[in-house]
């Protein structure tokens, strides 16, 4: 039995996972059209490499990675690009993003797929393949996986596969592990090869016995693999908390897991690594849980770009549905204002979309009006980052951003545990988001001012230099003229 370690705090919200685990993963049918955003990952937007009117094949590159942290985007099916324009996507800013609209031709015609045997390639080559296959973290952050594999000289002792899935309602990883355990484990072997890691730990919360059994069976022939059952506690699946649980190590603030010899990937990411290398299939689809206020909660293998409302329609949202959440009920993103009439906005499913929850007042009753903080410190008791949320709240609402930073505001992972337990119903996380964005904005302003000042100083320097050069030239010319004169005078002799 492996020793597990506790992290501070955590909560036990009702799981609500059983609804969507009754049936096997279904395949969402081909939608009428797909909107594929070029920015589905952390980092730079991919550069479009197709034109309106182009016919594309399933898996064809349509967005080229642009910049160090970036990832490729592909056509999820064969069809015609009908437009490339700004469209609404699920993003906290609510700003539209560049998307390619694809009208499927229904033939699902693939490009030529090139499977590779990973053992015959160097890690660097494989990283490039993953980058071009658009593989990003599927746990929610959508960070390009190839970047996480570029570890330089660091030695990785432990590779962790995150199958914790601690957030209520979401079951896509659970179902993936139940049904495709062997592929996940193959993917993990590839990741281990690229990281040259020692052991592989697969952390799964104890509320997923079927997934644990399936994964255990899949690792039977693997060396140095272990499925570790961890206690179900939110946010036990947050990378840093999971690393702590499994290894007892804390990733130092502002550092990366690789700094302490650990790297962590979501199980679904491992699965797409396997598909990308062993089958030559770029990341074109993902498992999405559709649950909440629907008639039949289910997990769907969904093409990236599928309109959320077409996906939800498959599960039949109940009439009192008044909003949709992309993600879980703790950290998910609202897809449009609650209580606004009409269906969900036409945002597409993206690589980060693990779950769509249909919301209603019955499932998510609006909280009572917030009362003042009474400093009861229930928030501090549940904070997995050992912060003092009541103090951060105080500084944020007083706009004392410097103090908020001194009290480690940026170590907050926005898990929402503090808001969950607050007896005064204060939207604490919202205050932290506000404070963080204000600080970022000020930082940007300062940077802009700094670079403007630098430009101005350089401008002055250049004028000065030009003046000097001119003066020097003039002096040189004068000297030359004088010299010439004197030669003439001499020659007169």
């Amino acid at each position: 039995m492996r020793t597990l370690y506790k992290f501070h705090g955590g909560i036990h919200p009702p799981g609500n996972k059983a609804q969507s685990t009754q049936l096997a993963i279904a395949h969402a049918p081909l939608p009428s059209k797909l909107a594929v955003p070029f920015h589905q990952h952390a980092g730079e937007t991919a550069k479009p490499v197709v034109q309106i009117g182009d016919h594309v094949l399933k898996g064809q590159l349509i967005g080229m990675p642009d910049g160090f942290i970036s990832s490729a985007v592909h056509a999820p099916t064969s069809g015609t690009i009908s437009s490339i324009d700004m469209q609404h996507i699920a993003h906290p800013s609510g700003l539209p993003n560049l998307c390619a609209t694809l009208i499927p031709d229904g033939r699902e015609e693939w490009i030529e797929r090139k499977p590779v045997d990973y053992r015959e390639h160097s890690p660097a080559d494989l990283q490039q393949l993953l980058r071009m296959a658009g593989v990003v973290g599927l746990g929610g952050a959508a960070f390009p996986s190839d970047i996480k594999l570029r570890i330089g000289k660091q030695k990785i002792k432990t590779l962790i596969l995150n199958g914790a899935e601690c957030e209520p309602y979401i079951t896509c990883d659970d179902m993936l592990m139940r049904e495709r355990a062997a592929e996940i484990v193959h993917g993990a072997e590839m990741l281990r090869y690229m990281l040259d890691a020692g052991e592989v730990l697969i952390g799964i919360e104890d509320n997923k016995p079927e997934a644990i059994a399936a994964m255990q069976q899949a690792i039977a022939d693997c060396n140095n693999f272990e499925v570790v059952t961890i206690p179900a506690i939110y946010p036990g699946g947050s990378a840093k908390q999971l690393i702590r649980t499994l290894t007892g190590l804390e990733v130092p603030s502002g550092k990366l897991p690789t700094d302490i010899g650990v790297q962590c990937f979501n199980v679904a990411t491992a699965y797409s690594v396997y598909r990308a290398l062993a089958h030559g299939e770029p990341l074109l689809s993902r498992i999405v849980t559709v649950t909440g206020n629907v008639r039949k909660a289910l997990n769907y293998e969904t093409l990236i770009g599928t309109p959320v409302d077409e996906l939800v329609a498959l599960s039949e949202a109940l009439p009192d549905t008044n909003g949709y959440i992309m993600g879980g009920p703790m950290m998910g993103m609202p897809l449009h204002a609650m209580n606004a009439p009409g269906p969900a906005v036409h945002v597409p499913v993206v690589k980060a979309a693990n779950c769509i929850i249909a919301a209603s007042d019955r499932l998510f009753p609006p909280p009572p009006p917030a009362l003042p903080c009474i400093r009861c410190t229930r928030c501090a008791e549940v904070c997995p980052a050992d912060l003092q949320p009541q103090d951060l709240y105080w500084f944020a609402q007083a706009r004392e951003f410097g103090k908020a930073q001194a009290f480690s505001l940026f170590d907050c992972i926005e898990c929402g545990a503090c808001s969950y337990v607050c007896p005064s119903h204060i939207p604490l996380v919202q205050y932290y988001r506000f404070a963080k964005s204000e600080i970022h904005a000020r930082e940007r302003e300062k940077q802009a001012a700094d670079s403007a000042r630098e430009r101005h100083e350089f401008h002055l320097y250049r004028i000065e230099r030009e003046k000097q050069e001119k003066a020097e030239k003039l002096a040189a010319r004068e000297r030359a003229a004088q010299a010439a004169k004197s030669t003439v005078e001499h020659s007169d002799d």
Partner: protein, 361 residues
């Protein structure tokens, strides 16, 4: 409102306060049993005054009245103050004290969640300084003998008459029905050079401390244990307070048992139990860090003992609380626990404000 998290625990400030009120009931029941129903009159008077003052202040401050009246915090202040005042105190004393607690100590500091000082104890301090005579006339417990005679007792009607009209029945003087508290008596008698054992032979003393009042302290202890069990308070404050009081009283008692009474007496006398579980634990005016709570409560235990043993007031709970309230911001600042991934505390090493992002670019 529609942003994450969309779910929350069905818990509220008013429920927390209600549970604290409920936890006071065993103590109050024993109070009534030993000292008669007059305390219920004080509690009722204080409650009505508190709600009235709360509503008035909210109105004056242009704040919504109903949500705050329903939070039960004003009631809790009222009950704690009423329990600190002699039960036969005149009605205006209760009303003035409660109004001071709510209007001055709570609302002038910004209302719920913003008061630096414990409102009930601020009200108590104002009263004991302004009306020391009325504040030290405690009613004798039921069936107490003095000089071989059972002390006179007032009926409930007579108590009401005294509270509201200051009129006593024919032939009964105030001295016949009131007395100094066991703590006060101990102090006065020690000044008269009596020894502890002589003093404890007096009928006003029971098994551990004051006859009757020791049982009320048991009631508060039971209520306090309920608060601990239901996780409304953490163990740090009551444990550190009682342990410090016990340790200091114990040291003095061991050195000079004739002049310093045993530590258990201190636990079960005065407001020690009520204070340990109900007053010092007020979340608004106590530290937010666990280490801070230990320091705060230990300081309060020390001050309580010093006032009881060497000070001018019979009990030290109120001043101990208020003096330690002053220290709370400083204590909190210096007891910040280490943040995840920052072994050396919140103000320790920092790797750039934006951590990860700085690292990768």
């Amino acid at each position: 409102m529609f942003f994450s998290p969309y779910i929350s625990k069905p818990d509220s400030v008013s429920q927390i306060m209600l549970k604290v009120l409920l936890a006071l009931i065993p103590g109050i029941a024993l109070y009534v049993w030993y000292f008669g129903p007059a305390i219920l009159v004080s509690i009722t008077l204080a409650s009505l005054t508190a709600l009235g003052a709360e509503a008035l202040m909210l109105k004056l401050r242009n704040r919504p009245v109903m949500p705050f009246l329903k939070d039960n915090s004003a009631l809790l202040t009222a009950w704690l103050l009423a329990l600190s005042i002699p039960p036969l105190a005149p009605w205006w004393l209760v009303v003035a004290g409660t109004a001071f607690s709510i209007a001055i100590a709570k609302h002038l500091y910004g209302g719920l969640g913003n008061n630096l000082f414990n409102p009930a104890m601020t009200g108590y301090a104002a009263l004991i300084i302004s009306f020391p005579v009325q504040m030290t006339r405690w009613v004798a417990p039921h069936g107490l003998e003095q000089g071989g005679l059972v002390m006179a007792e007032l009926s409930f009607a007579e108590q009401l008459q005294y509270i509201f009209l200051a009129a006593l029945p024919q032939g009964i003087t105030l001295d016949a029905i009131t007395m100094a508290t066991p703590l006060d008596t101990l102090k006065t008698r020690l000044h008269l050079d009596e020894s502890i054992s002589q003093i404890l032979d007096m009928p006003i003393y029971g098994q551990i401390a004051g006859h009757g009042s020791e049982m009320v302290a048991w009631g508060f202890l039971i209520g306090g244990l309920y608060l601990l069990a239901s996780r409304i308070i953490s163990w740090h404050i009551p444990a550190a307070y009682l342990a410090t009081l016990f340790a200091i009283a114990g040291i003095f008692h061991l050195v000079d048992p004739a002049h310093y009474i045993a530590p258990l007496f201190h636990w079960f006398s005065g407001a020690a139990m009520l204070g340990a579980f109900f007053i010092l634990t007020d979340p608004v005016s106590s530290p937010t860090t666990n280490m801070g709570r230990l320091i705060y409560a230990a300081g309060a235990g020390l001050i309580t003992y010093l006032i009881r043993a060497f000070g001018g007031f019979p009990d030290g709970m109120a001043f101990a609380t208020l003096l330690m309230n002053i220290c709370v911001p400083l204590i909190v600042l210096y007891t910040q626990p280490p943040v995840f991934g920052k072994k050396d505390g919140a103000f320790g090493k920092k790797d750039g404000v934006f951590g990860k992002k700085d690292k990768l670019k």
